[in-house]
Symmetry: C2
């Protein structure tokens, strides 16, 4: 496999918010970026605005063979389907990576079907916005954010290093590494559980009038309640067991705090608040 560097040619498959933000970040560094997306307007917008050098709504052999790195920014199931249909077009030694929000099931499935002469290194950029499409893409979402590489035993040291370098070129602040299982447990907690909470807050009662009264707390806890139902329901289902476990852990703790309030156990309630304050402080320092 070629070393990833500024000369590497990147193909983005799926030019939505994340794919578009990848393209912007890498084009700004002076790299050659092409893209494939079924939506004609996305390709036209990206070409017109200098986000990509080359684009197509069709799967073009030449574009695929020209790429050193192919980034899949598709819904999980579409990603797997795409690999099945078009992997015969890959150049040997191409690095394949992705942005998928769940890992274990996807990584296993891709490795099971993928040609042995190309390498897939899974990655999860921990960045996003509550809006969609290349028109809303913004490479600044990567500043200060975490990029998680999720390798398996089938990956080479070279492939993993190249995937990490991509994260650095994109502008992420921190490059981390987790196993697929660790990733899915972590994501069940920090991302999927928090989305379930935000949704529940918005749907548990008729709160449309509250906008006239609320402070920032409610706004903060519900920002992510604007959610793409197709993408997120797919992600939830693909990570069902880890998510249910995290929901149960959270609910147990929430019930404990409810119990302290109901029984006036103020000292125990304060202990929870002190622990919460101490732990949360860590997140502000970094």
């Amino acid at each position: 496999m070629k070393q990833f560097d500024i000369e590497s040619k990147i193909l983005i498959v799926g030019l939505g918010l994340l794919g578009g933000s990848y393209a912007k970040a890498l084009s700004k560094k002076g790299m050659y970026v092409s893209a494939i997306d079924i939506r004609k307007e996305s390709i036209e917008y990206a070409l017109k605005n200098g986000i990509i050098c080359e684009g197509s709504t069709e799967v073009q052999k030449q574009m695929i063979q020209n790429a050193d790195v192919i980034v899949f920014a598709l819904y999980p199931k579409v990603f797997v389907q795409w690999i099945k249909e078009y992997q015969h077009l890959f150049n040997p030694d191409t690095l394949i990576t992705d942005v998928t929000g769940v890992k274990k099931c996807i990584v296993d499935e891709i490795h099971a079907i993928l040609r042995s002469d190309v390498e897939f290194v899974a990655a999860h950029p921990m960045a996003g916005r509550e809006v969609y499409g290349v028109e809303n893409s913004d490479d600044r979402i990567f500043n200060g954010a975490n990029y998680i590489v999720v390798p398996t035993e089938q990956n080479t040291r070279e492939g993993i290093a190249n995937c990490k370098k991509l994260g650095i070129y994109l502008g992420f602040a921190r490059i981390a590494e987790l196993s697929p299982e660790e990733h899915d447990e972590m994501i069940g907690f920090v991302s999927q559980l928090t989305h379930c909470i935000a949704i529940s807050l918005m749907t548990c009662c008729d709160n449309e009038g509250l906008v006239d009264y609320t402070g920032d707390s409610f706004r903060d806890l519900t920002r992510i309640a604007r959610i793409n139902e197709n993408m997120w329901s797919e992600l939830f289902m693909l990570n069902k067991q880890a998510l249910l476990t995290q929901m149960d852990i959270f609910m147990h703790e929430f019930q404990t705090i409810r119990h302290f309030i109901a029984n006036g156990e103020v000292d125990k309630l304060k202990d929870k608040m002190k622990l919460s304050t101490k732990r949360r402080a860590l997140f502000d320092r970094k």
Copy 2:
């Protein structure tokens, strides 16, 4: 009662983050602001930085009698105690207001003990920060925020109008009015419930290592998990029934969503996400 205007003299009792932010906002408008606080450093800091014109660590008769409006920015129980001890020093026709985060119990208790020739109009500024003290005060927290006046039948039209004008002078974007019962139900939901959720997220498992992996969702949902345990446990206990009710409503909805995920009821899950998205959009437009 005198009309509230730019000539009104304001006394702040309790010069912490909120009291200090009130003082800054009103001093910047050119108003005469004095303050009483037991912490000597707070008074010295505020005098030195032009946040107040006059200050004392003692309860001074002259300062109290000179004020047209007295704002209590104290913990709820300290506020009630203060009124009991020092209300004999009030001038007739003084407007008394507060910033207390719970209303029904406080408003009832204050009205039960207060002299009949001064008027107390309760208010709740829906603004704050996760830091404390006059040194961290910042009047910009009121920009774009909601100010809720919580009158009872014992209040006069004049008193309520003066209290609302104070909110306008402070720089709040929206002045609303709720009954004490409505206020406490609302605050149980948008503020206290959200704090319980944030605390639970931080304390339900050992998550100190997560800072290397997490994205913005978890940060957003736990910002308010840095919490002053003395103030918030007091507020929770004073609004116990409303808070427990809101916790139960939330938990029931969260369980419903868990059920949809566990049973693969994807269409029902998507319906919740669509409703959540639609409702949350209202909060972005205003």
